[in-house]
Symmetry: C2
Subunit: 307 residues, 2 copies
DNA sequence: GGTCATATTTGTCCTAGACAACATATAAAT
DNA sequence: ATTTATATGTTGTCTAGGACAAATATGACC
């Protein structure tokens, strides 16, 4: 029953590896090894899909595909086991993971709500959501939860954060920041987390959804008078794509508008540090906003003093 | 400034037309007509991107690409003007469109909130959100609003509906329905609308995000004990893809689990009527849920009577 | 008007080659 | 010994033009 075969389009969609790459891997490394249907088209068994997904993940964390494809499935799985930091995982995250793996609808949302009220939004974000995101990603990676569980978790978090964000008192709205993701990037949770943090700092947030074309980002930033554009990057997209798109965006955007980029996708980006502000951490948002406000205040002070 | 050139990947991502199709159109119909960079690769001016987006839309509403590509941009735009039903557009929708086109952050969310409380969720969905979705899509289509405005609208609606859904009292949870979209489908608003309608009927809703692989939908439906799987299809994906995926899903899913499919993407689907319940309208949800409950009650009655 | 057979249209898949961008190894020079 | 230049891999994306089945349109006939 589980032995369905997938076409190359299916594999592209499900693994995130392009057709061209799939064909060139087959040609060069001898993997994957799809059989052919009566029409001579590639058909892949599901076990190869699993292996490809694993390879994609490992590759995104910096390994060379040419070496990965030579390894067996089990060897690949071993690679995924990071230096074990389970000691560092908060008890709450463990509990949430237990709920998640035990099936749907069993009170995940109410547990999250409880934690939110116990800790307050600020520490809920940094101490619960952020580590939990990581734990869920890791668990999927190791095959302990399915894509479905990940989606269910994401949807639940989205609900909780949306409700929380909506209940927050608006600050004075400075600085004004537009939040979105690059074309191709589908993960919106990081955006919501950033929106919450920024609203907590009193900043003005214009939350746009995911996948905004670059020209539209530019137009929006100008029309809405935002002085900062915030971009959230997961590591779902390759570093390559992220970097080239950020560079393009920087070129299109007026100099007066800053770019702030965060998320796991910008972790290893170093070379565009001077033109773009990179965030490895939600906590850095506080300092960054304060810095902007101070500069603005300083400028105003100078203006007054100079008059 | 706006005269940037796009690579074939950019065009694929931004227009939703695959590389292969772009190349084959060029070969067959002589459009698009990209120039080449020093490396011999296609580069497209932005005006061709706009035309391609338009063609994609018209094509999805049933026209032949081979005829569309021969037309000029202005002729294409004329085609988009549907039989004018602006008389049917409620005043509220007109007002919301005005707000949307007048820039960001100017009270769209508060207006929506007001309307929600005036009408109640039920009629807010059918009389405001549904027509507004259509109006926004149409306006984008005709070039009156940008993608950014559409995203901003979508994000705002998502917020309003999420908050509303979360505030709804849980019913008895029958029938239990899992909601998601097919792989490739990114629009989640229809899902939220359906979730609201179903919760209003007292049904149990397991809201999964977008783009769930078929095997995972099956696993989830079984594990969570859902008797119905609800799929929301926008017309962003081609009819082709939608139909083939739905057929695949029907084959994978146990017979006891029904498939309900709704959204503008299933409007013209007819041939799978007997195996899948198709919805053209939010209002049909009420009747469908009642029918399921009656059958269940009838079965129970028969069981009792038979004993 | 409806039903069937034939013709056209259309998207996706194929092969196999090329090349730039990046990473890494090796040699030369300070 | 450390930096700098050069060579060698490695990798993803792009190219061309051909093939074919599934979807759709056209026309003949009842």
């Amino acid at each position: 029953m589980t032995n369905c075969m997938f076409s190359i389009s299916d594999i592209e969609r499900e693994s995130g590896i392009s057709r061209d790459t799939l064909r060139v891997w087959e040609r060069r490394y001898g993997f994957p090894t799809p059989s052919r249907n009566e029409r001579g088209e590639r058909i892949y068994p599901d076990e190869q899909l699993l292996r490809l997904r694993l390879i994609k993940q490992l590759q995104d964390s910096g390994m060379q595909p040419g070496k990965l494809v030579k390894l067996e499935y089990q060897q690949l799985q071993q690679l995924t086991f990071q230096p074990d930091n389970s000691a560092l995982v908060p008890a709450d995250v463990k509990m949430l993971m237990d709920i998640l793996t035990s099936g749907f609808g069993s009170g995940l949302i109410s547990q999250l709500d409880t934690l939110l009220h116990q800790r307050g939004l600020r520490y809920f974000l940094t101490d619960v959501v952020a580590p939990m995101n990581h734990a869920v990603g890791q668990a999927w990676f190791e095959g302990r939860v399915g894509i479905l569980d990940e989606h269910y978790y994401a949807e639940t978090i989205r609900t909780v954060l949306t409700v929380a964000l909506n209940g927050l008192p608006p600050g004075d709205g400075n600085p004004k920041i537009m939040l979105t993701t690059l074309p191709g990037e589908q993960h919106g949770i990081g955006l919501l987390m950033a929106a919450c943090m920024l609203r907590l700092e009193g900043a003005g947030v214009v939350l746009i959804g995911v996948q905004t074309p670059l020209e539209e980002i530019v137009r929006g930033a100008i029309e809405s008078g935002c002085s900062i554009v915030g971009i959230s990057c997961s590591d779902y997209m390759g570093r390559r794509t992220i970097a080239s798109q950020l560079v393009k965006l920087r070129a299109l955007l007026p100099e007066g508008v800053a770019i702030w980029a965060g998320g796991s996708g910008v972790r290893t980006l170093t070379f565009l540090k001077d033109s773009i502000r990179l965030f490895n951490d939600l906590d850095q948002i506080h300092a960054a906003v304060q810095a902007v406000l101070n500069v603005a205040a300083g400028a105003k002070y100078e203006l007054i003093a100079g008059t």
